[in-house]
């Protein structure tokens, strides 16, 4: 049960897509590098039949040295305790600060308030899920990829997903829930450009990539974009 993807021991960074990317040392020693293979604790030799255990510890091949790193059963506990909250803070400090610095302070202020309130609410309501890192990540990616949008107000729903709201008035209203699978469900109220007294109302679910197309099709960009956008 060895993970097929080696984990390189060198630096890591958030790439343009907002994913954590590992890359090799820019100055590798000679022509080889060390790579690690993670072995989940359930695959430790002590938990396996003796005849199923292959050679361990070190595997020397032509390109370098592979070191098997045996996970501790406590890693799973640590992973569980390493909450999405820490990932979210890290994401804000590194990815968002790098790609759309102007929104970091606003997001952080609102997020701090929300997280504190959410912590209290979770004590009283077991159905309330903590803020999902995946949902938060997709929300931020949308803002980074579409800098013409104003920074929205946002809340955390019962599933732990971010629900963002761009609202200028009751009839200029765009709400979007960023799910953990890269899609968003939206509600848009927007005045009909040909009959401004009439309001177009639409709701549905799209990939985050297509959300902007929906906004444009309902003319909602006129008020959902920032003045400078």
């Amino acid at each position: 049960m060895v993970h097929s993807q080696p984990i390189y021991t060198h630096d890591a960074s958030w790439n343009e897509a907002g994913e954590l990317a590992f890359f090799a040392d820019p100055n590798p020693m000679d022509s080889w590098f060390e790579k690690k293979e993670r072995v989940p604790w359930s695959a430790w030799p002590m938990y396996q039949p003796a005849d199923s255990i292959s050679s361990d510890h070190q595997n020397v091949n032509g390109e370098g040295v592979t070191v098997r790193v045996y996970d501790s059963p406590f890693d799973e506990v640590d992973d569980a305790l390493s909450t999405d909250e820490e990932k979210i803070k890290n994401y804000l400090d590194h990815f968002v600060a790098k790609h759309r610095e102007s929104i970091v302070d606003n997001i952080k202020t609102r997020l701090t308030t929300l997280m504190n309130d959410l912590e209290e609410e979770m004590e009283d309501d077991l159905t309330q899920q903590p803020l999902s890192f995946e949902s938060f990540k997709y929300f931020i990616q949308f803002l980074v990829k579409n800098p013409e949008f104003k920074t929205p107000s946002f809340i955390v729903n019962y599933d732990g997903n971010i629900r963002a709201l761009w609202k200028k008035s009751d009839n200029k209203h765009l709400a979007a829930e960023f799910a953990t699978d890269g899609t968003s469900s939206y509600v848009i109220f927007s005045p009909d450009p040909d009959h401004p007294a009439k309001v177009m109302r639409n709701s549905g679910s799209v990939s985050n990539k297509r959300l902007k197309d929906v906004v444009l099709s309902l003319n909602a960009h006129k008020w959902a974009y920032s003045d400078a956008g």
């Binding site: 609410e121 009283d124 159905t127 809340i155 629900r163 609202k167 509600v187």
Partner: protein
Amino acid sequence: MRDNDPLKDEHHFTKLVKKTKIHEDGTIDSCELVPRKDEEFMSVDWLEHYGHDDVDKNIEELKQYYNYNFTIRTQKLPLLNVQKVKSHVEENTREKRKLKILYKPENFNPSHSGVYNYKHDDELIGDLIAQKVEKLYEAKINNGL
């Protein structure tokens, strides 16, 4: 009023709304104004059950109930009128959706009622209901301490 009777058009209802479901401008998010997953209706409280002509007094009585039975911290109670909510939803949904607001008393909560005929993912209807909030009360009793 008996179980399943519709609330009168001129009456009011409310529900306990969590602070994390309210946007910075005071807009209640639709996720708090739709039925919870796997539930047939949105639970609300019929205010006129408490018998006062003054809606503020009815809210005060409901607050007593909530503060006595639940942990109340920063939750809010939005004031909604039955007729305004029903007609706003009917007029502004493509299919002219008719919500039903029925009395559903429970032993421990005699003002309990339900908003029927929409589902968890009818977020557009949740947003329309949010537009009809007339007033937002603090749910916690201010005991002067």
